[in-house]
């Protein structure tokens, strides 16, 4: 027993151990402080938090959930990218193979359900923030970033919805993207856009309107698939990531996890 203890001591005091876990077991307040300050991940947090910030019943932990789900999506999404080719002859069959024989095909399930869960989590987060009136000064700006993040989340899910390239996907996107057709002044069926003319040449038509820009064609097709793929895997995640950073930063700067000021 005793020598076991000594062995443990030896390990804990060894240089390697120290170099990794700089402050040992944070059992003194000082160490606790250092533990948080010393770690990149943890120092997102302040050293000390308001008690209500820890209370589940107050925060509902929805912000954290959203962030965690974002991470889950990133990981599973990466795995999926190994198997998936965004062209219309392969997209569907690749998904089939994911289901039929690809190892860890379950990644697809996790990715999809994670996406749904993330949308809900973000909503609830907003709901909570509103109910506690945490958008009020000085947090107006962060609330706005939050709103943008919400929109980005929806867009992420929306662009991902097309990728399986099955009936569900293509028609959901068709319905979704048809609205762009009616953008006032920008969609070829939108109000006023009929009035935008050069001589008697309509400047807004199915070949150049908002919808065309969105789906890269007059109808959902290969280019749409590729476009959405790029948006889904590159553009939006990066944007979201960037905004999240700001979001967290603001949380810290605006007096930590929301609470009465």
């Amino acid at each position: 027993m005793a020598n076991l203890k000594s062995v443990q001591e030896g390990i804990v005091n060894s240089q390697i151990w120290k170099s990794v876990f700089r402050v040992g077991i944070p059992n003194t307040n000082r160490k606790r402080v250092l533990a948080v300050l010393g770690s990149l991940i943890l120092h997102l947090h302040p050293v000390k938090v308001r008690r209500s910030g820890v209370r589940m019943s107050y925060t509902w932990c929805m912000g954290g959930t959203s962030f965690f789900l974002f991470l889950v999506e990133t990981v599973t999404g990466l795995l999926l990218m190994f198997y998936y080719r965004p062209t219309i002859e392969y997209a569907f069959t690749d998904i089939l193979d994911l289901r039929e024989q690809a190892p860890f095909g379950i990644m697809r399930e996790m990715h999809r359900w994670g996406a749904h869960a993330m949308v809900i989590a973000v909503w609830l987060h907003m709901f909570r923030v509103f109910m506690t009136g945490s958008y009020k000064p000085p947090r107006e700006f962060n609330w706005n970033i939050g709103v943008i993040l919400l929109v980005l989340t929806l867009l992420l899910s929306f662009t991902g919805y097309l990728l399986p390239w099955d009936q569900l996907a293509i028609w959901a996107i068709t319905v979704g993207s048809n609205m762009a057709r009616a953008t006032p002044g920008a969609g070829n069926e939108g109000p006023m856009s009929g009035l935008i003319k050069l001589g008697d040449i309509r400047l807004i038509h199915a070949g150049d309107d908002a919808r065309f820009a969105l789906i890269g064609g007059r109808s959902i097709g290969p280019s749409t698939l590729l476009r959405f793929y790029v948006l889904h895997c590159m553009v939006i995640p990066l944007a979201a990531g960037f905004l999240m950073a700001i979001h967290f930063w603001r949380v810290r700067k605006d007096g930590g996890i929301s609470g009465p000021l």
């Binding site: 569907f92 069959t93 193979d97 039929e100 190892p103």
Partner: protein
């Protein structure tokens, strides 16, 4: 960990720790869950199970190999093996000695070799030294030279020595090798002796489940090289359609259906069938000598399967038609055609439910789709609404053939689909439903021409007929349009039913009115006095009954009593012509008389050929047919038409084009007759009568039915299932409607209006497809065809029957089925419906299977165009009719026969004159074999040879003088050698029986030539042979003999026959003036219970 400085916590750490512990465990479990989720796949279980089955089978084979009747063989085998072992041992000693010897020599050789090489090296060095010395004019050069010479001598010595040593070494080596060889041979023989068993053992080892098996297939490790893995075939030129993209198929069916392409896992039933088939093939020498042994082994295997303790069940079974499908040697090897290209289904799926397995019938469906009862769910069968191409149910398998074989009339090995397509052609689906593929285009209208209906029958008959054709003829192809279930069925409310009946009455009357008002009224010459008895005799003997049925009641198969006949009670071909019963009631003597004399006179597309009846014969036949009456049919009352109904219907059509008021006005101006005619025209349009019949005023209209060209690929949700689930069909059979395309089509065919049940529809919106009274069998066949009509893409080289040979054949076969040749002849192995009516095979029309190889093309051409050019078998009473083929048609048929017979279309052997010697020898053989006993050899007039008295069957053999113009030069000997292999059951005896051992032919003359009775012949023959031995050799050689015979026959043959007379144009009868008033409604038919009572 206990913090030194206690601090306030929001949650009690203990609780959190607990939660942590629990959740951590949970996480562990679910992670395991992921692995399991990945690892546990349905197909693995099947593979596992299959390994077990394989082992079972192999054990069984091993036992079979070791015990049983070859137990004794094994015993002596062991002896031989032992003996071989001994020899090996003996040799080995010798070998060891020799080897030791060799080693020594090796050593010496090595030393000698080294010495030599070193010395040589020194020599070279010395040479250089010498050269330098000479060059530099050194003083010691003489000395050096001397040394050099000595050294070179020394080298020579060494070389000689080396050679000597080498020689001896090689000698020893040879000895050793010899011993080695001996040993090896012995071992080889031993191996051979135990080969069969070793093989089985090796296979067993291959499927054994030892430790490594478990390691390889362990979860997480099974990515390295598992034995459980997904088998797939990639089919680069058979595609799945992913909208507008053709993606090559990737079939994974084998993953579970492991044994599908390897023999030995048949079901017992299949095994029994196959072994019987193979045995039969063996017995009839259809299997080449070099394959016989293998075949026998296969049969043994199949026998073993039948005796096996356990039945092999799906999905581990072998494909039942391995010789045709998936077998590597078959026409559709697995690696090229996969499974889903024929069976349909989701090619990439690896689980039962997703693969698109379909229950074949309602019973199965109930078994499969128990939702909560897992055991019921058959590996998780779930109805998959997203699988666009589920598999064909069992009873429709052959639908899969169509997509590649669409341009074939006959599909070898596809008896069902061939029959199905013939059925579709017979019933005439193609007339109303466009089917744009080669098979169903360019066919004539199935219904008779109605432009002359008034000459043929009376309005009363027509009305009754249209109301319900099946009351008049139970086997007719004319469907029932009226008074169907969606009009008067139980589901229709009473009031509406009454109304519908009124409407239908009106429509029928209107149609008839229209037809008769538009009809021609030529008056045809009446027949002279005829003898009904003789007529009946003619009808029964000259072959009318090949295409026409003359009875309407048959004995029920299960219940002995007589019942009304259905089409399926007779061979397909006999339904080609209408059923003769009641023809006298339907029409009149004049019409029949002229029709049987020359049908084409009525209208050129008439399907019926001319039987070349003399006027007297025609009169007799007429006299007989007129006696075929059905009075009770004409007794059926005709309901008087309600003028109100007529007006409403007519108006209904009128208002499509004009306003209500104008319509009313228009109607006012129309008398009843005109209203009827107008309504008639509209109704014919509505029901599409013109699609099947020629009707005046409807030329060139589009057929009425939906296009079926790609019906098989129509998505399920496009079919309207109405509210039906199960119902009682018109023939009282209880039917189920599954929510699948095949089931929909099947039930649509069984009862075309069924999907209107419980529907509320306006009169004119109700379903219109008429009821063909298809039996379940027929419906199944037609469904098979419709399912086969898909839009699947096929790689060019996968499409069948594209080579010119086959094309020619198929074109011809299409004609064959159009002109119903199979009513009398066997073409391509089946047909001759008439056989059932002629007891004595000698009086049957010929079997045309070998015709292409048998008959010369010019003869065939002439004969087809005009059969009178030659009477080959004058005793046969069935007449080959005159079809009035065009040259093109005749040529097509000739081409077909040639292709089927694998013969050149033309050979002019007919002009080759055999050498006299051959003829002489031939004559002798001819006499020896007593051919003349049956065959006449005196020239006759080919058009009217003497009719022998059929009492003595002896004379019922073709006159051989006709052979030369008719038969192919190279066919005759072949025929003489193996008649009943060409035409089973022929009267022609086999004079050169096969030797059961070798399968070769034996000549009866081989020995008989020496017997006293042939002394004379022998003497006569000798001059033509070099020696007696030569003669004997010839006499023992069937091929030679038969060719001599042929030459003799050739020599006596006539060389000329009349060319075909040009088609006589339809006999034109002076068309008389049209009678002033129609025979129809006008003349007070009203009294007769029919007739329009009001509105006139």
């Amino acid at each position: 960990m206990k913090p030194q400085e206690p601090i306030p916590h929001n949650y009690s750490m203990a609780k959190l720790n607990l939660i942590f512990a629990v959740s951590a465990l949970g996480l562990l479990f679910v992670t395991g869950g992921i692995v399991l989720y990945d690892y546990v796949r349905g197909w693995k279980w099947f593979q596992w199970e299959f390994i077990r089955i394989q082992q079972e089978r192999l054990q069984q084979d091993l036992r079979a190999a070791q015990q049983g009747e070859n137990r004794t063989r094994m015993a002596q085998l062991d002896k031989q093996i032992k003996q071989q072992e001994l020899t090996i041992a003996a040799h080995r000693q010798q070998y060891v000695l020799a080897q030791r010897d060799l080693d020594q020599w090796e050593g010496q050789h090595y030393a000698a070799d080294e010495d030599y090489r070193f010395a040589k090296a020194n020599l070279d060095a010395k040479r250089y030294e010498l050269e330098m010395a000479v060059l530099q004019k050194r003083r010691d050069r003489a000395q050096t030279r001397k040394e050099y010479i000595d050294l070179s001598n020394h080298v020579d010595d060494l070389q000689l020595r080396l050679q000597a040593v080498t020689r001896d070494r090689d000698a020893v080596q040879a000895r050793v090798n010899a011993w080695l060889k001996k040993i090896k041979d012995a071992e080889d023989t031993r191996k051979q002796l135990t080969a069969s068993i070793d093989l089985v053992k090796k296979q067993l080892a291959a499927v054994s489940t030892n430790g490594q098996f478990f390691i390889l297939n362990a979860p997480m490790l099974d990515f390295i090289s598992p034995t459980f893995k997904i088998d797939q075939v990639v089919l680069p030129d058979l595609f799945v359609n992913v909208n507008y993209m053709e993606v090559p198929r990737v079939d994974r069916c084998q993953t579970c259906h492991r044994a599908i392409d390897q023999p030995g896992f048949e079901s017992k039933k299949e095994a029994a069938r196959l072994s019987a088939e193979l045995q039969q093939k063996l017995d009839t020498y259809q299997i080449p000598q070099n394959k016989r042994a293998a075949t026998e082994q296969r049969i043994a295997q199949l026998k073993r399967i039948q005796d096996a303790p356990q039945e092999i069940l799906n999905p581990w079974r072998t494909h039942p038609k391995l010789d045709l499908f998936v077998g590597s040697a078959s026409a559709h090897p697995l690696l090229e055609y996969g499974c889903t290209s024929c069976h349909h289904g989701m090619d990439r799926a690896t689980e039962f439910g997703r693969a698109g397995h379909v229950p074949p019938n309602a019973k199965m469906e109930r078994r499969w789709s128990g939702f909560w009862n897992v055991a019921k769910r058959q590996w998780g069968y779930e109805e998959n609404p997203f699988d666009e191409t589920p598999m064909y149910p069992r009873q429709y398998y052959e639908a899969g053939c169509v997509k590649c074989h669409a341009n074939q009339v006959q599909i070898k090995g596809g008896a069902q689909i061939t029959r199905a397509e013939a059925t579709v052609e017979l019933i005439g689906c193609y007339a109303c439903h466009k089917i744009a593929n080669w098979r169903f285009t360019g066919l004539r209208k199935p219904g008779p021409d109605l432009t002359g209906i008034a000459e043929k029958t009376t309005p009363e008959w027509a009305i009754r007929w249209i109301s319900e054709p099946h009351d008049f003829r139970s086997t007719t192809r004319m469907p029932s349009f009226f008074y169907q279930r969606n009009m008067v069925g139980p589901a229709v409310p009473a009031a509406e039913r009454a109304q519908n009946i009124k409407y239908q009455d009106a429509e029928i009357r209107a149609i008839v009115e229209y037809l008769f008002s538009k009809s021609k009224h030529r008056v045809w010459p009446a027949p002279g006095p005829g003898d009904a008895a003789r007529g009946k005799q003619l009808v029964n003997t000259i072959g009318c009954l090949g295409c026409h049925v003359d009875t309407e009641t048959v004995k029920g198969a299960t219940t002995g009593e007589m019942r009304l006949a259905r089409r399926t009670d007779f061979p397909l071909e006999r339904n080609y012509g209408f059923n003769l019963t009641g023809v006298g009631t339907k029409t009149n003597a004049a019409w029949i008389y002229n029709w049987v004399r020359n049908p084409k006179a009525y209208y050129p597309e008439a399907p019926m050929p001319s039987l070349r009846l003399s006027d007297q014969e025609a009169a007799d036949v007429t006299a007989y047919l007129v006696t075929l009456q059905k009075p009770q049919f004409m007794q059926k009352p005709i309901r008087p038409v309600d003028p109100e109904a007529v007006r409403e219907l007519a108006k209904g059509y009128l208002v499509n084009t004009r306003t209500d008021r104008d319509a009313e006005a228009k109607l006012k101006t129309m008398p009843m007759h005109e209203q009827l005619v107008y309504l008639g025209q509209r109704s014919i349009e509505k029901y599409g009568c013109y699609s099947c019949h020629n009707i005046d005023g409807f030329e060139g209209l589009k057929p009425i039915g939906t296009d079926l060209t790609i019906e098989g690929s129509k998505a399920l949700h496009l079919f309207d299932f109405g509210f039906v689930h199960d119902y009682k069909a018109e023939d009282g059979v209880h039917e189920h409607v599954l929510h699948t395309v095949p089931s929909w089509i099947y039930n649509k065919l069984r009862s075309p209006r069924i999907y209107d049940d419980l529907r509320t529809k306006a009169y004119n919106d109700k379903l219109k497809m008429p009821n063909f009274h298809l039996t379940p069998e027929e419906a199944r066949l037609v469904t098979t065809v419709v399912l086969g009509l898909t839009k699947d893409q096929i790689g060019a080289d996968k499409i069948a029957a594209t080579d010119p040979q086959t094309r020619a054949a198929q074109e011809g076969l299409k004609l064959v089925s159009q002109h119903n040749c199979r009513a009398c002849h066997i073409v391509d192995g089946y047909g001759r419906a008439i056989a059932s009516l002629i007891s004595d095979t000698n009086f049957l029309p010929p079997d045309l299977t070998p015709e292409g190889a048998r008959a010369q093309s010019p003869f065939l051409f002439n004969f087809l165009k005009d059969p009178t050019v030659m009477k080959i078998r004058p005793w046969v009473s069935v007449r080959m009719p005159t079809f009035q083929f065009t040259d093109a048609e005749a040529n097509t048929l000739v081409g077909m026969f040639a292709a089927e017979g694998k013969a050149h279309e033309f050979d002019n052997a007919v002009y080759s004159m055999p050498p006299a010697s051959n003829v002489a020898v031939g004559r002798e053989v001819f006499n020896m074999l007593r051919c003349a006993q049956c065959h006449a050899t005196t020239p006759v007039n080919p058009e009217a040879p003497p009719v022998p008295k059929t009492a003595s069957t002896q004379s019922l053999a073709p006159n051989l003088t006709l052979a030369r113009v008719r038969l192919r030069h190279d066919w005759i000997p072949d025929w003489i050698r193996r008649p009943n292999e060409m035409i089973p059951g022929t009267r022609m005896p086999a004079n050169f029986p096969r030797d059961p051992a070798t399968g070769g032919f034996i000549s009866p003359l081989a020995n008989a030539i020496d017997s006293p009775q042939f002394a004379k012949s022998k003497a006569a023959l000798m001059p033509y042979f070099k020696s007696e031995a030569d003669l004997k050799r010839t006499m023992a050689d069937p091929v030679a003999l038969t060719e001599y015979l042929r030459d003799y026959i050739w020599s006596i043959g006539i060389t000329q026959i009349r060319a075909a007379a040009p088609n006589q144009a339809p006999a034109v009868i002076a068309p008389p003036s049209m009678p002033k008033q129609l025979p129809a409604m006008k003349t007070g038919r009203a009294e007769q219970g029919g007739g329009v009572t009001a509105g006139r």
